[in-house]
Symmetry: C2
Subunit: 221 residues, 2 copies
């Protein structure tokens, strides 16, 4: 018997994307795998996420949360940053390069992700509305504007600023949410960038862990 | 004659909100005022923002950017964090409290701001569309969902987690973008929270600086 690990993240009890790795716990799992730190997961149902017990950890009733000793964090970006700050492998040592990597973390969640969230939101909530088909191209174009700019900045580089960093980890997971739309394939260097992220052994371990959870549930029922 | 300051931020040449302080340079100005650090501004026109010279600093063709010696940053959240990390006054010393303050920075830009950005986007780009009036209440309700949750978490506290931090600075500036919509006033504790932020001397100095730029231009033309 080993003592319980002191690091717990919450994940969806039932994977909404059937183990495709698009939930935000994937960012945290990947970060922990990159730095070689173990973790435990606690499953949370859609109902329980909105209850006071979980909201005490996450005021917006979402996953993931992160518990480590007396510390409770939410927001995948903040959790990834916390991991990156305390373990080697996700942020460069050089202070300027480190600041630039953090800039890419914020760019991922504040510049690239919002139009992508909008696309997901309207798919779930507005598909039956009369305006859905007419409006969809406008939403796609807003995403294309950002992808075009990101594609130019990335150019032929492997990663956004030198070596792989937490900025790339966040950006790849944000871009992955676009794969089903086909928009990512319009920018071959971005599609290759995302594929490079997915090819990392740490990504693959994290992906397998969340998929195993879904597979076990599916075969067990 | 004094030597040029080594810290330069870019701001809109023409304030789109007529000096109301809603542009994202306000976040950086406020942070620098909180920690008592001087800065210079460089004005950028809407046209020049999309040109290669500015895009070399900011791949998405926006303001603010931040230059300090050989370091170039963009993304207001990343710039505020950089300032907070290097100067006392915006992040607590206690490691856990510091991590929680950073969590609120990410919550501001990744959970609260996206539906607010959506509202701004459709006001500018979809006001003439047939669906605008019918869709607007749905967008408002998405914002209300987040405000309701934030309001519950804040409760009667002055700030989101103990003392004022960079997390509050980011959250207040994000919420300020809602004032014209009237939505903020539906949550009196959030409206009071924002007012507390605005009442800080550092906020007032930052606000005056950006307003003076607009006023000087208006009276000069």
């Amino acid at each position: 018997m080993t003592a319980p690990l002191s690091r717990i993240i919450t994940v969806f009890e039932r994977s909404p994307d059937r183990g495709n790795g698009l939930a935000r716990d994937m960012r945290v799992r990947w970060a922990l795998e990159e730095v070689g730190q173990p973790y435990e997961v606690r499953l949370v149902s859609f109902g329980a996420m909105k209850e006071p017990t979980h909201r005490a950890l996450h005021p917006f009733g979402q996953i993931p949360t992160y518990e480590e000793g007396g510390l409770v964090l939410f927001e995948s970006g903040a959790i990834v940053f916390h991991i990156a700050e305390h373990h080697k492998g996700l942020l460069p040592d050089d202070p300027n390069a480190r600041a630039r990597a953090i800039t890419w973390m914020f760019a991922a969640v504040n510049t690239i992700e919002p139009p992508i969230i909008d696309l997901q939101t309207i798919r779930f909530q507005e598909r039956d509305q009369s305006w859905y088909e007419a409006r969809l191209p406008m939403v796609h174009d807003r995403i294309r504007d950002r992808l075009g700019e990101l594609s130019i900045r990335l150019g032929n580089a492997d990663w956004l600023d030198g070596a792989f960093s937490a900025g790339d980890l966040m950006m790849v997971t944000v871009l992955l949410r676009l794969r089903a739309s086909g928009l990512l394939d319009e920018y071959p260097n971005l599609a290759a960038y995302v594929a490079r992220g997915e090819a990392r052994p740490a990504y693959q371990r994290a992906f397998a862990a969340q998929l195993a959870l879904f597979t076990a549930q599916s075969s067990g029922n």
